[in-house]
């Protein structure tokens, strides 16, 4: 894992001191809210419905046990005993007091964490495949590149006043587990015929009110030119983007207005120019960073067989455990989606259990997935049973990964001041409706994603089944969408028709799911059936 050097630490510490002073002045009445708000947002501190909300960056979703224990401590000391993992691999606390926020930032800095660039018109926390460094199918660990880009873009003056937020995602496998093409700038690490490493580049994606899937602008940017390419993309956007209408400032809008061809042409022109300036990382710097991500010392000669005699364990094993690149090891997914729970929420006690497990069984590493679940990336197969037992004791052993009850839901109107409707109760009702494990497993992979408003924090555009909360004359109403995905065949979900109330949407989801069950061909997932037959039959099943 990356470790701060003294520059990183000094920057983060200086920011804490700045914010402490700014907060003091605000509370003393020396600053108005208009003056203070941009400063607190630069440190991830929002004002939400019931309190301040603090968004903590988890670079490329990687954490160690010391950091997770610190988050548990913060949850207990400054919040209400829990935190919420988000679709951008971050953690949010929803009950923060302004007067304590500087102390929290200081505590985070002790464990190399911060909230910088988690809000505002900046390059946000860079996300990555949550199986990075462990996946059997990856070309290499994408995190050294994510870390390089993080360092090159943090506090970079040219990127400090971007037209709007900018989200980067890096993956290194054919399978896209990170919704890469829903980002402003998606990168897939590939190898060319000569065996050299480079990047496929996908700019211009994004959700929100005008969703676009990123397009491919380059098949192969040599690895040591990627920062130049990123700069070129940002420069074209920075130069031409509108700044008069907040809804039209994301890069996806510019890409759409210029057209992919013209956008690519301008990027290539800028790229040629920037390449000559020589601002890319030297090999030595890459090597220095990459050394932090050296694979852990995997044992050799381990057994691959797993004792499946406990049937509950076997179900979890089949559903939540994925293939690892090292023989004798596996990737264990921890579902944060218990039936009747709140997706993505985790208590301080649960954080401590997971931290202990990471330390004891996973080389002190864990990951946050964009699906609001956690991952123990490097577990010996022979330890899986012990891990599962400990998880079960903490209420963390739901065997529902990627199933109908593994629902992404944003905080919605229960917490968020921008919301039209609540998301969590809808997720809970759907999960209860489909709670029967046999039914869930029979339905197979089915991704439901719920947002409480058009900003799409809950990825409804990318749901096999998406749900969007809208305000219908002061009451909550829900639109149903079908056919989205955030995988390597990214598609945008389409609205089925008129919206539903809270109970109606649960029935509508069930009708869509039952329609799938009736017409599916052998081996088809929900999304496959939808792609084969299209919207019409589903529409009829839903609206009768």
């Amino acid at each position: 894992m990356y470790k701060y050097d003294h520059y990183d630490q000094a920057m983060v510490d200086a920011r804490v001191a700045d914010f402490r002073d700014q907060t003091r002045r605000r509370i003393a009445g020396q600053m108005t809210d208009d003056q203070f708000k941009p400063l607190r947002l630069k440190n991830g501190l929002y004002l939400q419905l019931h309190a301040y909300m603090l968004r903590i960056a988890i670079p490329y979703g990687t954490l160690d046990s010391r950091q997770l224990r610190k988050l548990a401590h913060i949850a207990r000391t400054y919040d209400r005993g829990y935190g919420h993992f988000t679709t951008r691999q971050n953690l949010q606390f929803h009950w923060i007091k302004l007067e304590q926020a500087p102390d929290i930032l200081a505590e985070l800095a002790e464990v190399e964490m911060h909230c910088i660039q988690t809000s505002g018109e900046s390059i946000r926390n860079i996300s990555a495949d949550h199986y990075a460094g462990a996946a059997a199918d990856e070309i290499m660990d994408p995190r050294p590149w994510a870390e390089m880009l993080r360092q090159m873009t943090s506090f970079h003056p040219e990127f400090s006043y971007l037209p709007r937020k900018f989200k980067i995602c890096v993956i290194a496998a054919e399978e896209d587990r990170a919704a890469m093409r829903w980002h402003d700038f998606g990168l897939r690490i590939v190898k060319n015929e000569a065996g050299e490493v480079g990047f496929e580049v996908y700019p211009g994606g994004g959700m929100g009110r005008t969703p676009f899937i990123a397009y491919k602008s380059a098949d192969f940017v040599p690895q040591h030119q990627i920062f130049s390419y990123l700069q070129a993309v940002l420069r074209v956007w920075n130069r031409h983007a509108r700044r008069d209408n907040i809804h039209k400032q994301r890069m996806k809008i510019l890409v759409h207005e210029l057209g992919e061809e013209e956008f690519t042409r301008q990027v290539e022109e800028a790229f040629e120019h920037i390449l000559r300036l020589g601002t890319d990382f030297p090999q030595a710097e890459y090597d220095r960073i990459a050394a932090y991500f050296e694979p852990p010392a995997f044992e050799t000669g381990l057994r691959d067989e797993i004792d499946r005699s406990d049937p509950d364990f076997a179900v979890w094993l089949d559903q939540n455990v994925a293939a690892h690149k090292a023989p004798g090891y596996a990737i264990a997914n921890i579902s944060l989606k218990p039936i009747r729970g709140i997706g993505g929420d985790i208590t301080a006690e649960q954080m401590e259990v997971v931290a202990d497990l990471a330390e004891r069984y996973s080389f002190d590493e864990l990951r946050v997935a964009h699906t609001q679940n956690l991952v123990l990336p490097h577990v010996r197969k022979q330890d899986l049973y012990a891990v599962w037992q400990a998880l079960r004791g903490a209420g963390l052993a739901d065997a529902n990964l990627d199933l109908v009850t593994d629902i992404i839901a944003c905080p919605g109107l229960d917490y968020c001041s921008l919301a039209n409707a609540r998301s969590i109760p809808v997720a809970q009702k759907i999960a209860e409706r489909f709670a029967d494990p046999a039914r869930q497993h029979d339905l197979g992979e089915l991704k439901i994603k719920i947002s409480g408003c058009i900003n799409a924090c809950g990825h409804h555009h990318a749901g096999h089944i998406g749900i969007l909360g809208v305000d219908r004359k002061g009451t909550e109403n829900y639109q149903l969408l079908l056919g989205g995905s955030g995988d390597e065949h990214t598609t945008q979900a389409k609205i089925t028709g008129p919206g539903f109330d809270e109970d109606g949407i649960v029935d509508a989801v069930e009708r869509a799911v039952e329609h799938y069950r009736t017409i599916r061909e052998s081996g088809e997932r929900f999304i496959d059936t939808y792609r084969r037959v299209g919207m019409d039959g589903f529409k009829e099943a839903i609206y009768g």
Partner: protein, 99 residues
């Protein structure tokens, strides 16, 4: 009636103007009539409220203040999915007031 609400600057807690000061209980909210913006300007300048605004509300038959919009009712109570974290943790029916 018109009611003034906002968040406490230091703690972020939801607060309601009760005619003399701020209360965390919507039951205490006073009718601000047309004076809301003026009161807010004074309170904001004194750093006693953050992000204040004036809302429509009605006084129910039980005499209790009920904000017109669901968002402010959720603000008044707390998250409907965590009754234990609302202002009425002991009342299992508290959430029905929101809907």
């Amino acid at each position: 009636m018109k009611v003034i609400t906002g968040n406490d600057l230091k703690t972020g807690a939801v607060i309601w103007w009760d005619g003399r000061g701020w209360s965390i209980h919507v039951e205490d909210a006073a009718d601000a009539g047309d004076g809301g913006e003026q009161i807010l300007a004074v309170e904001d300048a004194a750093c006693r409220v953050n992000g204040g605004y004036v809302i429509e509300a009605e006084r129910g038959l039980d005499g209790k203040v009920r904000p017109a919009h669901i968002k402010d009712r959720i603000r008044a109570l707390g998250p409907t999915v965590r009754p234990d974290l609302t202002l009425k943790p002991a009342d299992p029916d508290a959430g029905s007031w929101v809907i």
